[in-house]
């Protein structure tokens, strides 16, 4: 899955579960630009896990402030999953 596909998948989650309209851009900040509060942030995280069938690691030190950061973290987890695959 390439970066563009990941970004589109996150956009789909945001539209379906958070009522967003339009496209997401990597530079958009989750709290400030997308106006996500704690509950919406949680919805996004859980639904992104479901959509990509990954587990985001809460103990990771990755700093996720923007849509792009989230996409990169999803990419890392997808890679890890394919590494683990037999």
């Amino acid at each position: 899955m390439n970066d563009q596909e990941i970004l589109e998948g996150i956009g789909e989650v945001a539209r379906r579960h958070l009522g967003f309209t339009g496209e997401l851009r990597p530079g958009q900040r989750l709290a400030e630009d997308l106006e996500l509060d704690s509950l919406k942030m949680l919805t996004l995280a859980v639904e992104v896990e479901n959509r990509f069938r990954i587990c985001l690691d809460p103990s990771s030190e990755a700093r996720i402030a923007t849509v792009g950061d989230l996409a990169a973290e999803v990419g890392r987890q997808l890679e890890r999953r394919s590494d683990d695959a037999p």
């Binding site: 400030e32 509060d37 704690s38 509950l39 942030m41 949680l42 996004l44 995280a45 859980v46 809460p58």
Partner: protein, 587 residues
Amino acid sequence: MSGDLTTLPELLERAAGHGDAGLRFVDGAESAGWFPWPLVRERALDGCGRLQARGVSPGDRVALVLPTSIEFFDAFFGVLLAGAVPVPLYPPVRLGRLDEYAARTARMLELVRATVVVTDRRVRRLLGPAVAAARPRLGCVVLDELADSDPHPAPGAPQDLALVQFSSGTTVDPKPVALSHRAVVAQTLRLKAYWPQPEGRTVDSGASWLPLYHDMGLIGCVLPALEHPGTLTLIPPELFIARPALWLQTISRHRATISPAPNFAYGLCLDKIRDEELDGVDLSCWRIALNGAEPVAPRVLRGFCERFARWGFSSAAMTPVYGLSEAALAVTFSDVAAPFQARRFDREQLARAGRAVDAADGVELVALGRPLPDFALAIVDDAGAELAPGQVGHLLVRGPSLMDGYLDQPEATAGVLRDGWLDTGDLGFLHDGQLYLTGRAKDVLILRGRNHSPHEVEDAVDSVAGARAGCAVAVSWLPEGDSGERLLLLVEARRDVPGSDYPRIARECAGAVRAAAGLDPDHVEVLVPGTLPRTSSGKLRRAETLRRWLAGELDPPAAVTPLRVLAAAARSRLAFARMRLDSDERS
């Protein structure tokens, strides 16, 4: 007023005869959910049945942790119909400080001895630690997951407890304010008298973004709409904070005649709304813009009236008011049909002698109006003797909507309620029959023998470039072994300001305080936004700020990221799971 003898369920019953009025909810996409009063009651009866089947009995205290939504009202009115007592608490939607949220919520659940917590699926994901600490007997529930069952409404009496709301105590821990049906209905009737009367067939409407766990939102907006009955359009508070223009757009679109907010909201509109966001907006319908719940700044009122006149806002609409949770809400109203009044008083006379003397170059204070019908005010000295008009003292109020007391706290109640008078904890004076406030008794800055209001100092830094408006705290403290009180000023920077700018902001803040208040701060510190502790309604907590600063515990909030919330949700699941294990072991 003879109508005082009724209860909230009776008001709901009456409103259910009016299908042309009700509650409307606006969300981010501005689509609106519409619930006429008959439907609100029908849903409440359903909620009542489910709660009763769960075991809720008359008199039980039921905590509601719900965002602004129809689900809040299903639970609120459902609890009332069951003869139980709703206790609205704030949901964890603010970013950051989730641990602090859990501790405070647990404390509030314990203080009211909540029988059960009603929430929704999303909020429940974060409530585990609070619920596990407080252990409500009937657990933490979502209404539509409870078994459907026939409701058996249990009508209460006017003297019964109607609801508990937490005072947003800025100086102390929040206290549970116990209000009877008699008090709440008395307040509602007096507020409703200010809803403009219907013209022709139009149903008057209000609009509010105020949180429903706060007196101004619940008692100030919802209950007058219920009694009228009129239509109230509700905006989730977190949406207003993110997009203030939505408030004005909603007033315009739904032709709201009345909409209240605290002073900071008017300031936020001034700072954040861009002209192009108001294309097509017409505010001429907005006849009463109540402004209360925190100190009213003349600069903000004037700025708001001037800026938004272009979109039809009438300066006569701006109506400063005064009230407090312990009086159910409002105590004084200024003239709703006239522009607000402000006067200048001699700074030196106020600070040294506690006397209000007109002075052209003095400190400007906004008149908060006269008591509501059947309310009375008294200004007294430290010994309780009544003072003459123009003298600053403790403000006491009397009236038909005072609280029964702080719930289960007789000592704290005796400290503020004496012989039918409520000590508000505020300092002020009367001038031409109008109330003016000078500060909170517990927050007064005592510097070199003079009393200063912290607002005077805090408001001065609003004009400094890079300082976050309304986010400064001034406190005085006596360092150990020192002979005189020191003035400490803590200021949050704006989000877009780099740390390298902080020293410049500190210097300019000190200068602004010298110029405006004639005081020299001993220490000025510029902080990352979100560092200062606030109450649930967003007011700054001065005493707590000083305590943390002295203890070196004044830390910025951790940025909330998807990973951090996932961690919080995992802790919450674990807490719920442990609770279930424990109760399985016990049974």
